[in-house]
Symmetry: C2
Subunit: 336 residues, 2 copies
């Protein structure tokens, strides 16, 4: 196996994917710091909006690898780490390469600009997979080049684009993903997912602006649709239904601080940025031209039971996958 | 993400899995060489019986990373690489750690003993995931310890055991795997796999001692069951059928250098070491207690059509997965 730029960028991409959607409204970003040719010092990601960017986490971890008892260890916020490294980097990074999946930000938002930090600590090279698309943050590459830092652009760009795709979509309108759970053979009957997968689904709900669900599912399953497994925020709900009459005792109507809309007008979705669809397979057919991703949870069983998707034809690209406990999570992007 | 022994061993395991079954009758083994704490020099695997072992490939690649024009470049066979490194290692490996998924071999078989090579080049530490189970090859750890080389044993042992599991089974009897291909939603109708996946299936056939297939599939599909996509060896075939009468014009009967058995006695399987099952889903049910792995090829489509597995209940552990082109390959181990 070749140990090259693609190898290190792949590590950065995989790390970023662990926090896909959880960084909303920020993009998922990963960063790897390599000393010399191939001494790997840090593999980090941006984890949540308001928390340090991927570069900051990675530079901190890399510095601490060589200086494990340095005061930097006590710096937690982005501002603290930026300030400390700018004054105390001791030229440590001059023979380092920094791999980052997205162009370092150039503006001062909730956290100071990463391009500025890199400019000061002067790594040997910054390898960037994808340029920024956020007009406010753009210009990082120029800042680095103006500081005479060698910049490589486009390494694994297609994979970085797929990682960035939800951010691109919600930044310019709506990003819609469908959460499905099934066994290996496609059965959807009964309880499919184990607790860790359920907690992940609740983390996604916590971040979503809106959950869309079908009226028949609401009538049959009488769900709560909150994020109790992670003590998170319950998302607003839109019930897709022509018939507007529902039993008011269904638990989802009694979750505090949540709006529930009952409608059959899918144009309402355009008012929301991050939309999660759950549970009704006829919605998959109705949304087939609007859907961006399927997040598919697979429990590795072959199990007797109904396969509800036998009447739908759609093509996808697998753009990432991971494990949640013993189960699989697969990120599928709809092919146009 | 922590950059530790587990991180490097995982790279070795993943590399080894790329050649799982293709090394038959040898085990799949991976090896990573790290200089100092985390300078990653080589990620290699054993690729085919008779070819260099994982350690030899990795030590060669690591040495060439620092000495790209060394004469070692021209050494191809295991004997040549062993001999050359023993005389010309220049103490290069003294500050290296060698991660290997299986205890280095201690006997001289088709290739010289890896334990002996390591003893001479003296790496700082050898980290081994799983001890050898092959009585002829065992003793590598003691050889290293006797040479005062620091040995770590058991890093990611469970994963290494899963990697080694086919070898353990065919070494002590039979290893039986079932090849399945389906869409995301479990549909098996029509052509599922693309050409790269088909070539992989033919590479598996080429290595298998026996292919088992159901009589009805033979009558309906009239298959050839050879390894033409890779210009490989056609395996012997056992057709599982009570009715022994078949149309003699079915192509599989006319492949040269192949035996075909028609039988409904599954005890005959015990005469073979590596057995591949294809195509008939009632065989999955019949073999449910004997099956070791399912190798599942998944094409990322949702597609209308028959899901043949709706009447079977089985539990699996996902022990590895990879891509073949745009498709997924998942290695599933049956849970007892």
């Amino acid at each position: 196996m070749k140990i090259n730029d693609e190898f290190f960028m792949k590590l950065a991409l995989d790390e970023a994917w662990k926090y896909q959607f959880l960084t909303y409204p920020n993009p998922a970003v990963g960063c790897v710091v390599v000393k010399g040719e191939s001494e790997i010092l840090a593999i980090e990601a941006h984890k949540e909006a308001g928390m340090p960017h991927a570069e900051v986490n990675a530079l901190k971890a890399a510095f601490l690898k060589y200086h494990p008892n340095d005061l930097l260890k006590t710096k937690k916020t982005s501002n603290e780490i930026h300030e400390y490294l700018i004054s105390n980097h001791k030229d440590f990074f001059n023979d380092c390469k920094v791999y980052v999946t997205l162009e370092p930000c150039n503006h001062i938002g909730k956290t100071p600009a990463c391009a500025n930090l890199l400019k000061v600590i002067k790594p040997k090279k910054v390898i960037i997979a994808h340029e920024d698309i956020n007009k406010e943050a753009i210009g990082g590459i120029n800042t680095l080049k103006d500081a005479n830092i060698d910049v490589g652009l486009g390494c694994m760009k297609k994979d970085a684009y797929n990682l960035l795709y939800p951010f691109i979509k919600w930044n310019s309108g709506s990003f819609i993903f469908y959460k499905m759970a099934q066994t290996l053979n496609g059965s959807i009957e009964g309880q499919i997912s184990e607790n860790r997968a359920k907690a992940y689904v609740h983390a996604l709900r916590d971040k979503s602006d809106l959950m869309l669900i079908g009226g028949n599912t609401v009538r049959t399953d009488r769900p709560t649709l909150d994020a109790r497994y992670i003590a998170g925020r319950a998302p607003n709900v839109m019930i897709y239904s022509k018939n507007k009459i529902f039993d008011n005792k269904i638990p989802l109507f009694h979750v505090p601080n949540r709006d529930v809309i009952i409608s059959d007008d899918l144009f309402k979705l355009l008012d929301y940025k991050l939309i999660m669809v759950e549970g009704t397979y006829n919605l998959l057919d109705i949304l087939r031209e609007k859907l961006d991703f399927i997040i598919l949870l697979i429990n590795p069983k072959i199990k007797k039971g109904l396969n509800a998707l036998n009447e739908i034809d759609m093509d996808f690209e697998i753009i990432h996958e991971n494990y949640i406990g013993n189960e699989k999570i697969v990120f599928l992007k709809r092919k146009n």
